[in-house]
Subunit: 261 residues, 2 copies
C-alpha cells in the first residue's frame, strides 16, 4: 500500500538495532534519523538489523531501497538530501544561523552523547546489556556484553568523558541541557502564533532545522531509556524540553508509544 509520495521512491529501510516495533529506541541517533524522515513525510520501513551487519559498525544504518546500505545518521541525511529524497532543511538559513545549527548539533552529538554512553554502559551496565542484547542468548550475551563494555570505556577514555569524575559529568550535563532549555524557552516565547500545541523549533523559525532532528532524538531517547536515570532526571527537570518533545511526538510520532512522564 504505497502512498502517492512513496510510489516514485525506492523503499527506505531504517535498521534501528532494537526489535521494538511502534516504540522509540534508546539510541539518540536512531530517533534523530526517524525524526528527520518524518519531518519531511518520507516513508520508511523500520527493521531491527544488527550492529554486526552495520556498514560502519553502528546503528542506525539504512538500506536505500536498492540494496545499498550505509551508516551514520548525518551521512545518511546528506545522501538523501543529495538524492532529492529529503529537503535541505537548512537551505534558507543565514550563514550565522547555519553555524549556530552546526554548533548545537556538536553540543549534542559529540558531547552530551558521551555523557549518555558513560551513564548507560559504565554506571548501568547490566540494564544496558540485558536490553540492547536481549536477542543474544544468555551465556554469549555475557561475553559480547563485556566486549561492548570494554569498547565503551575505551571510547570514553579516549574521547575524554571517561577521565572526569561523576560530579564533573553531572555539572557539565546539567549545563549543556540548561543551554538547550534556554534556547527552546526563547523559541517557544517567540514562536509564530499558532495552535498552542504546534511544534516550535530550536532556532526560533517557522520550520525545523537539522538541529531539531538531533534535539528530538536526544530528548526522546533520554526519556525512554531506563539505563540513564540521571540524564532522565536532568531532562525532566526542564519542562520546556519535555513540552518540545511532546509536541513533536503528537504531530509526527502519534503511532509510537509515549514515554513515561
Amino acid at each position: 500500500m504505497a502512498s502517492s509520495s512513496s510510489q516514485a521512491l525506492p523503499k527506505l529501510t531504517v535498521y534501528r538495532g532494537f526489535d521494538w516495533p511502534g516504540r522509540y529506541t534508546w539510541s539518540p541517533f536512531v530517533n534523530k534519523l526517524e525524526t528527520r524522515l518524518r519531518l519531511a513525510g518520507v516513508p520508511y520501513v523500520a527493521a531491527p538489523g544488527s550492529v554486526r551487519q552495520a556498514p560502519m559498525g553502528k546503528i542506525p544504518y539504512v538500506d536505500l531501497g536498492n540494496g545499498e546500505t550505509m551508516g551514520d545518521s548525518t551521512l545518511i541525511t546528506r545522501r538523501l538530501v543529495g538524492d532529492g529524497v529529503l529537503p535541505d532543511l537548512n537551505a534558507g538559513l543565514s550563514p550565522a544561523q547555519k553555524a549556530q545549527d552546526l554548533a548545537l548539533r556538536a553540543l549534542m552529538e559529540d558531547k552530551i552523547y558521551f555523557y549518555g554512553v558513560r551513564e548507560r554502559w559504565r554506571d548501568n551496565y547490566v540494564t544496558m546489556r540485558s536490553t540492547v542484547m536481549a536477542a543474544i542468548p544468555y551465556p554469549i550475551q555475557l561475553i559480547i556484553g563485556l566486549l561492548a563494555y570494554n569498547k565503551a570505556t575505551g571510547a570514553l577514555n579516549g574521547q575524554g568523558t571517561g577521565r572526569l569524575t561523576q560530579d564533573q559529568v553531572a555539572v557539565f550535563q546539567q549545563e549543556a541541557w540548561e543551554a538547550l532549555n534556554h534556547l527552546l524557552s526563547e523559541a517557544r516565547l517567540n514562536a509564530p502564533a499558532r495552535s498552542r500545541d504546534a511544534p516550535f523549533w530550536i532556532l526560533g523559525g517557522e520550520q525545523p532545522t537539522e538541529a531539531d532532528a538531533t534535539l528530538m532524538g536526544f530528548i526522546v531517547s533520554t526519556l525512554v531509556c531506563t539505563a540513564a536515570p540521571e540524564a532522565g532526571k536532568v531532562v525532566r527537570g526542564f519542562p520546556i524540553l519535555v513540552d518540545y518533545c511532546r509536541r513533536i511526538h503528537d504531530r509526527y510520532f502519534s503511532d509510537y508509544e509515549k514515554w513515561t512522564e
Copy 2:
C-alpha cells in the same frame, strides 16, 4: 620580578608538554589556556612537564602555586574563576548567548579536535612522534610512539571520526571552519569602531567570551603545526580566521614567535 598584580597571587605554572619557550605549542588546549590567562592579564610560568606526570594523563595541566596540580583546560578555568584568579568572561551574557558560546566550544573541542588528532597521529605519524616525543631517546621513542598511535586510533574509532573516509573528514572539517569563519566575519563587520587592529570576538561583543580562548587556541595550533597540513590549508583559506588570530597575537602574544603565513 613579580608584577604588582602577581604579588597577591600564588605563582601559576602551566605545563605545556612542549619544551618550546617563547613559542606556541601544537596543542589547541595549551594555547586555549594560555589565551584565557593572557586575556585576563594573569601571569604564569610556562614549563614543559610531561604527559606521564599529568594528573589526567593529558596536557595542559597546571600547578596552582601551592603544589596542587590539575588537568583539563575547562576544569582549570572553572577552578581559577571560582578562586577569583580569573574573571567570569561569560557572566554578562544572556542565557541564549551562553548557550551559543557553549555550543561553539563543543564544535571545536569535541569535533574539530578529533579531525586534528586524525590528521596528526594517523596521517602524519612520523612528524608527530618525532616532534612531540623529541625529548625521548630514539629507540624508546619508537615504542612509546606506537603506544600513542594505538591510543589515538582507538580513541578516533570510539569517538567516531576514525570510521569516516578521508573525503568525509575533509568535507566536515571544511564545513566546521567555514561556520566559524562566517561568525567571525559578522563579528568583525559589526565590531565597535576602534583601531583597525584591535581584536574582535566571536560573539560580536566588546569583550571576549570563553569561546574566544578556545578559538584562538585552535586556530593558532593549526597554523603552527606542521603535522596537520590539510587543516592548515583550510584555516589559511579563510583570511578572517587568520586576521582574528593575528590581532590577538599582536595584543596578547607579542613575545611569542609568530606562525609562518
